[in-house]
Symmetry: C2
Subunit: 114 residues, 2 copies
Amino acid sequence: MKYNIDDLPEDIANCPIYKTMELFQGKWTVWVLFELNKNGTVRFGDLRKSIPNISNTMLASTLKDLEERGLVERIQYNEIPPRVEYTATEKAKDLHIVFEAMAVWGQKHGTIGG
Amino acid sequence: MKYNIDDLPEDIANCPIYKTMELFQGKWTVWVLFELNKNGTVRFGDLRKSIPNISNTMLASTLKDLEERGLVERIQYNEIPPRVEYTATEKAKDLHIVFEAMAVWGQKHGTIGG
């Protein structure tokens, strides 16, 4: 499916690009989504290790936000110690096309100022 | 060209997606790039009108940043009153693929929390 950029509605709030952009406003949101997409189901601690410099608090609040947006599913197992896993939903997995486009652009033009 | 997300290097700093993401960190950067891509060459005042709520200061600093990154070309005409126009470079125009992917995802999943 191709979307012609000239056909976008004038009202920015209804623009599908705007709706996608909202996802990228949080500092860590994209990285968490990217790691979840890459790994499928991940435990909190492993997710934290895979994202440099993210704090427990920031990771927890990013995951909560993504859960509320229907992008992440949180599953808690009643074990001792309790085990909590996070999985990317179909909605999150569909972001692959955005990551791929970013990868193509980044490969060609990634050098800042270049 | 397809980029396999599993092949991405472990070092996030060298990741082409990371390099593209850097573009999206500024609050207004993507909107300015989007408007420039849509319109080709734009005058400062017209650009400002097309982006709701952006201030003169924010637009000027966003354009300066994009110029330094090689994404925007600034042309000043020695007229009275002076006329300044901004054009998207080839590097900026290549972002079309990213905007298109965002539009596809936004059309399918744009409802927040949906």
